[in-house]
Every structure is written in C-alpha cells, then in structure tokens.
Symmetry: C2
Subunit: 73 residues, 2 copies
C-alpha cells in the first residue's frame, strides 16, 4: 500500500477555499506531500510509501471540506 | 438531548466557502434547520429535539471544512 499519487479536481473559488483544502491535507495521516492549485482547481497528493491511506481515503477527506471533488482524469 | 441552538463564528471569504459549510450542514444528521451568513461570518444551527447530535458535534462537523471555527460568544 501507499506510494500512489492522487490527482483530484476540487471546486475552489477563493483563497479561503484552497486554504481549507490545504489545512485538511496538512493534518491527514499518510500524506507525504501535496499541492493545491486554486488556478487550475487541481489538488495533487503524494501518499507516503508505507501509509495505510488509499486514494479513495484522500478523496473522502477532501470531500469533507464540502466542495465538489472528483478524480482529475 | 437535542433542541439546542448553536452559534458559531466560521472564517468564510467567498460564496464557495459558505456553500461548503451549507453542504456540510445539509447532510449532517440531527440538524433541524440552519443559517449560514457570509456577511457576518455567523453560522446558526438548530438541533432537532430528539437528535443525538451535540453542540460539540456541530462544531466538529463544521471544522472539518478546514475553516477556522469557534463558538460565537
């Protein structure tokens, strides 16, 4: 498990929105690194190699922000 | 339990932010009604009379949006 890169499309309309997603990912266990782009609406998450976190788990955590969230591709 | 009115101060900077809080409250079990004001930064939640939901539970659910959340008063 772990090691995957997850790409999501998240509806974010201001820096408050992207900041909320940033805070959620910052406290999510198993995230090695991440990038949140308000401009492209793209959220990229690198799962740590030995993490129990799954791509679905990442999507669910971000969706709890209350924003429309879906897989990028 | 239940029946309480909960007032929270939530940092929201655009309609994407307030919409996210609205979606979270709309799917939270035990909420009888609620109001989200972007202008005043105030979120008011009426817990249903027979609900197991607590004021702390409301605060935790809203805080999962990733926004600064605290009791209003």
């Amino acid at each position: 498990m772990g090691g995957e890169t997850v790409e999501l499309r998240v509806a974010m309309t201001c820096e408050g929105c992207s900041g909320a997603v940033t805070r959620i990912l910052g406290r999510l266990q198993g995230v090695a690194s991440f990038d949140v782009s308000l401009e492209t609406q793209k959220v990229t998450v690198q799962i740590a190699d030995d993490a129990a976190l799954t791509p679905e788990g990442v999507l669910e955590a971000v969706a709890k922000a209350g924003k429309q969230t879906e897989k990028w591709a």
